[in-house]
Symmetry: C2
DNA sequence: TGCACTTTGGCAACACCGTTGCGAAAGTGG
DNA sequence: CCACTTTCGCAACGGTGTTGCCAAAGTGCA
């Protein structure tokens, strides 16, 4: 619960329960959820839920929203999250382009900007550019952002609550109504410190403290993560339950792993290195220096137009993953998959079905998923508010 | 924290903090640990630690044990776990033999029994035999169990505390001083319900509710898990930190995964299916019906005496695992490895080293580990007492 | 030997958490 | 119109960790 050490005191307990209720409110969406349902789902008493929701309502984070039909007594009052009470910006920073979105507490996109970037221009220039996009997105210049009139007013309230609830991480000068900025990018990096390791082709980025640089410039908290992890987090928040793997097949092949509802990153943010799983001993050489990696085999098949073989290879690697981790679901994404999903879905499904027949268990379902990396990046900031620890 | 739902109330908070302190006391061993160190490690205030340890001392679970050297003021008083305050029995049930150990709270083996079993004799007969071994072990008949005089007396106290602290799971008639029994066995099974799925070669075991049958007979809580998971849990409790994989190479090849200090089992207790990871597309057929599984390749190499090749194949599969999960350590065990450890250690190490050179990170260490499955099985029972949730 | 100082750890009062007991509010059904 | 059911808040309560304070037990210097 507490990351550094395991001790739980009363404020921590309060934060935890409050976050839990907020998460359920978010999950219920615009339809709302009653106090008694919240009590059942959390295991707390109805009275405790009343107190917690009372604080949330006072803080402007929740409101009453109609009633459910009576079942013979007083009808349940529905509660709903106030989406506009807080915002976060998520940025998908790729090698040559950038996509930034502003989302509200419910995760709905309320503003979007795209721009070209040149990583070769140096870290400082890119930080400046990214900061500019964030500011434009928040102040509404050039964005599609309507839905702001009330939102900005409530924003500072939301921040106050966040601070009182023990969530906020010392936002200094800062932009109005902005809880923080999440940045997702490829390369290896250190998620906990927000430091980049090696950005392929741009050695000058090695060791650059992106998180702190951006946080100092913007005055709001910043979180940094791998693009595949952000995508997986976004899917988890969007409603995918349990444990799943998001396999992204684009210019490369990577994975984001969600285990028990939380993204698994490993101690060095290295987890999800799926592309260089070896599936053919002494197979063809890969760019990484090893031989027989899935990525090499799969992309080679794609290049020569043999999508069925690409899907079969991907399926075998996915089967390994499913067997090793006993996950519930495989999600496929990335340009290569989304352009022609069917052969990939069929191919991976065939391998997983065959495996299920051998073990006698139900086959693990395979689906496609939109790759909304920027949206997931925004959730890097929102996750702590809703009790989704980023271990 | 709470498995079913996430809500935390005061009793849950108290249990959690108490378990945390108990875990630190256990980790400190006979040397002991001071109240202030406990406070630092838990993040609680010294006063809170004093209250918690006071309850533990009153319950007979902890005692004062000397003082540390002064650093200019009052010297710190050391506290120590009372190992004899509780016991658990762990059973390693294999195809043809059984090993049962009785351990104290510190995990020290204080009694051991071995016996032949015949799974073909049917579930009821085996349950009867297992129960007999447990009773013999606890009453001290035929065991090497000295160290019992005081232990049994304190036992009932310990149970009282466990109940008061919210740990106990309703032990009815029950054996004296016994907190529970853990059973580890191969085959696929459902850890949460304690039901076996398919025991290879013995179809009549399919669906047998081993946990409940044994619990009803003995009157104490029973936990059931895969042998590799138990072994991994035992290693985690014995002091291995962080995330690691225990690879067991015996008559088959399996793995136990520990991620962030807790055993990862997956929703269907299927995780750790390492032997049938495919590392050679369309490779030689495996007993499982697939082709190119590590287990088949590795064991074939062992059979023809090529241990270097066996180790290389094992290393490549281990490398896949390390890359996918970003774990900190690989531990090797099982008859085949322990009989001639060196070639395996060298072979796996070579593959992981090469991987580390390519990625520019520190290589993941490889070591051998004793396969103490029965000891780990006992920890299935003790784990909840020390706050190690078995999710 | 005496005294100042540091550090540990317990006692008592405290703030605040979720819980319990009870009553008001708001429906349904006869 | 009334009995009944169900929801939900107010007030008192028990129990958590926290704070303030002080006794105990060392070290180090005069």
């Amino acid at each position: 619960m507490n990351r550094t050490n395991g001790g739980v005191n009363l404020p921590a307990l309060r934060s935890h329960n409050t976050a839990l209720v907020l998460d359920l409110l978010r999950g219920a969406g615009a339809g709302g959820i009653s106090r008694l349902e919240l009590a059942e789902r959390t295991g707390l008493t109805p009275q405790a839920v009343s107190k917690i929701t009372g604080r949330l309502r006072e803080a402007g984070l929740a409101v009453e929203a109609g009633h459910r039909a009576s079942t013979g007594g007083k009808p349940r009052t529905l509660l709903r999250l106030v989406p506009g009470a807080g915002h976060a910006v998520g940025i998908h920073l790729d090698r040559d382009a950038l996509r930034a979105v502003r989302v509200d507490l419910a995760g709905t996109v309320v503003g979007e900007r795209c721009a070209a970037v040149d990583l070769g221009a140096g870290a400082e220039a890119v930080v400046r550019a990214v900061a500019g996009e964030v500011e434009a997105l928040v102040t509404g210049v050039g964005g599609e952002g309507e839905a702001d009139a009330g939102a900005t007013a409530l924003g500072s309230d939301a921040k106050g609550v966040a601070a009182r609830s023990g969530f906020s991480r010392a936002a200094a000068g800062s932009l109005p109504a902005l809880l923080g900025v999440g940045v997702a990018l490829p390369g290896p990096l250190d998620h906990t410190r927000g430091v980049l390791h090696r950005v392929t082709g741009f050695p000058e980025w090695d060791g650059f403290p992106l998180r702190d640089a951006l946080a100092r410039r913007l005055g709001v908290p910043v979180a940094v993560d791998k693009d595949t992890n952000a995508a997986a987090l976004g899917l988890a928040v969007a409603g995918e339950r349990g444990s799943f793997a998001y396999l992204h097949l684009g210019t490369g092949l990577g994975a984001g792993l969600v285990i028990g509802g939380t993204v698994h990153r490993g101690a060095r943010t290295g987890a999800g290195e799926f592309g260089h799983q070896v599936v053919q001993l002494d197979g063809p050489p890969c760019d990484c220096g090893d031989r027989g990696c899935v990525e090499a085999l799969c992309l080679a098949a794609v290049t020569r137009g043999d999508l069925a073989e690409a899907a079969r290879v991907l399926g075998i690697a996915a089967g390994n993953l499913v067997a090793l981790l006993d996950i519930d679901l495989v999600l496929l994404g990335g340009r290569t998959v989304t352009s022609t999903p069917d052969p990939f879905l069929r191919g991976v499904d065939a391998v997983l079905d065959a495996r299920a027949r051998r073990t006698g268990e139900k086959p693990v379902p395979v689906r496609t998923a939109p790759d909304e990396v920027a949206e997931g990046a925004a959730q890097l900031v929102l996750a702590p508010l809703f009790g989704r620890a980023d271990a």
